[in-house]
Symmetry: C2
Subunit: 218 residues, 2 copies
């Protein structure tokens, strides 16, 4: 895949995928123009021969870096790459302890909540039990996250600047609400989510604003 | 918590916890002496008032950095902190694309496998179904990891130097074997695991070598 193939980064994305959503926010915050290639997970487009050549595991997102022609996978890894190689706002603090604290907030969502209650897992859990399953693990994860945020939050998840931690919170709250989680039990998460949701970079990354969002969900 | 309290870092650890194990390997590779405080997850010691003051979510590991007196949580975050602040071998490459690739390998285990098949989840799945559950998701995850390693592996997971990716593989293979996963289906993962398992830093981090390992498992 040669560098000349792409003028801009390419994001293989599904409008409702929280991992795709995180990367969209990062790209917007860094003011990077990118092209979207929608992959409809419900229609199984992640399993087409064409997509499996790009992303052998059939997950979204995948990210093609136009400067190197390289394809990257795993949302948090893609976000760290974008943060490390583009100018503009920094999504991690400079102090090592503070970096570790932000990464721990990221991982509290990206390791302890999202992977346990995503489409792949819920399909395996089965139609009958998936609602209860998702709700249980999102609530358990939000309890831990809320306790962490009591110590770290300012306007945003970590103090008064946007960090990687904020990028994971908004999509996870959206999923929590979809599964009927009572967000009044998590006042800090709720407040941060409301504040972030008003920012243009977050608005533009919302599922309802994506080209592959069905008309009835816009 | 003052700096003077600790002469060495403190790791709250359970001998069989794969997340604790990853951090033990990192500390050994960096040649950092540390104190272990065992937390017996089966006896519920993660739920004692004393431990919840240190780690409010009752997860292991927790890490007290003796230089700052700060407590860090989330194994991958702790490992990145150790890597960023101690001299010696570097656990991430310098090139941004290579760093992103190593992080993607780490996350393929630390996000897509371990959180889905750990003690907390298996308890919720229930005694009857937990074996089948763990095996299914470990096999699914190893298929993806094996495909990634086809492109990245040398002697180790990423080329011929040890990286963070190697630290996640060894504990996950141990868990796979415990749940009866046929590792011959994953020749690259198996080869890397065998190579790593011979290294003194990995040997010393093995569950059987921990002070809280029961005599019959040594």
């Amino acid at each position: 895949m040669s560098t000349s193939t792409y003028d801009r980064p390419v994001l293989y994305s599904y409008f409702r995928s929280s991992c795709s959503w995180r990367v969209r926010i990062a790209l917007n915050l860094k003011k990077i123009d990118y092209d979207v290639r929608p992959i409809n997970l419900l229609k199984g487009e992640q399993r087409t021969e064409e997509y499996l050549k790009i992303q052998p595991f059939g997950f979204v997102p995948a990210y093609i870096d136009n400067r190197t022609g390289k394809t990257l996978v795993q949302s948090v890894s893609i976000i760290e790459y974008i943060d490390e190689t583009y100018p503009g706002v920094s999504l991690l603090p400079k102090d090592p302890i503070e970096r570790a604290t932000v990464r721990a907030l990221v991982q509290a969502v990206a390791m302890d909540i999202q992977p346990v209650a995503n489409l792949r897992i819920l399909k395996y859990v089965g139609e009958e039990k998936k609602g209860e399953w998702a709700k249980h693990f999102i609530i358990e994860g939000f309890k831990a996250l809320e306790a962490m945020l009591e110590k770290t939050a300012g306007v945003y998840a970590f103090g008064d600047s946007i960090t990687m931690a904020d990028l994971t919170i908004v999509p996870q709250v959206y999923n929590g609400v979809r599964f009927g989680v009572d967000m009044t039990a998590f006042p800090i998460i709720s407040r941060i989510n409301s504040t972030l949701s008003e920012l243009p970079e977050f608005k533009a990354a919302h599922p309802s604003q994506q080209i592959d969002c069905p008309a009835d969900l816009r």
